[in-house]
């Protein structure tokens, strides 16, 4: 279960404040490892935030985001809404997390 996304979501004045933390190496493919060879790129390509099953925010992500990416986003909504976050990386691996506000 290494690909679980930690999510914190709070509703306030009709807006849900979402903070998510993913665990991912986010290698750029430009860095050299200990053996002097380039570390192959490995990064999250797409991040999607769903509210009650509907895509609220989608994104195209480059390897420029930091290792173990963190996001802070807001969508309108109320208590009881279901927030889901998922990602897919360049190797096809997927991560998923959900949180009821």
């Amino acid at each position: 279960m290494a690909n679980v996304i930690k999510i914190r979501a709070k509703a306030r004045k009709g807006v849900i404040d979402i903070r998510g933390l993913m665990s991912h190496p986010m290698e750029t493919g430009l860095r050299k490892g200990k053996n002097g060879k380039l570390v192959p790129e490995h990064f999250i390509k797409h991040l999607t935030i769903l509210k009650n099953g509907v895509e609220a925010i989608t994104s195209d992500v480059n390897a420029t985001l930091s290792k173990d990416p963190y996001i802070h986003l807001k969508v309108s909504g109320k208590k009881g809404d279901l927030i889901e976050v998922k990602w897919i990386d360049n190797k096809g691996a997927e991560g998923y997390g959900k949180k009821k506000v």
Binding site: T64, H72, S76
Partner: protein, 155 residues
């Protein structure tokens, strides 16, 4: 006994895998095909903006939270609040000018989302960080210089 345990495990695994694939595969898989590799690999800020169809942005004041001096270039926390701009926010792009690939991410905002984006980026060296926001009323940009004191990694 052993056989029973084994069977139970196999059934549980199968159920988990199929439910997971049902949940994740459809939208994520279709989105993966659309990853704009050419845009992501561009090396200058100007080219990226042109490729994103976001050139000619107006310099605007936005609420940006970013450090003046970043102690660690590998994780620079940045945040922009574009909800005060005129119009509904459609896209927010994060650009780090000093990096080999300046475009960090493009976030697409659908209806019912607020134009706010907070994340962490890598910065190879001191340089400008830009937020480019597209609303239905135009394109806006806010640039801030961030000094990186210790070199991050090569990204």
């Amino acid at each position: 006994m052993n056989r029973r345990v084994f069977l139970k495990g196999a059934v549980a695994c199968g159920a988990f895998a199929s439910s997971a694939s049902l949940l994740l595969t459809p939208s994520v898989a279709s989105a993966a095909d659309a990853w704009p590799k050419a845009t992501m690999d561009l090396t200058t800020e100007k080219e990226v903006l042109e490729a994103l169809n976001m050139s000619g942005a107006t310099e605007t004041e936005m609420k940006v939270k970013a450090p003046q001096i970043a102690e660690n270039g590998a994780t620079v926390p940045v945040e922009v609040d574009a909800s005060k701009l005129p119009g509904q926010v459609k896209r927010i792009a994060v650009l780090v000018a000093g990096n080999p690939r300046p475009l960090a991410a493009v976030f697409h905002y659908n209806e019912g989302s607020v134009g706010l984006l907070g994340t962490r980026v890598k910065m190879g060296k001191t340089g400008n960080l830009s937020f480019v926001v597209e609303t239905d009323k135009g394109v806006f940009i806010k640039t801030q210089e961030i000094k990186v004191t210790i070199g991050g990694c090569g990204g």
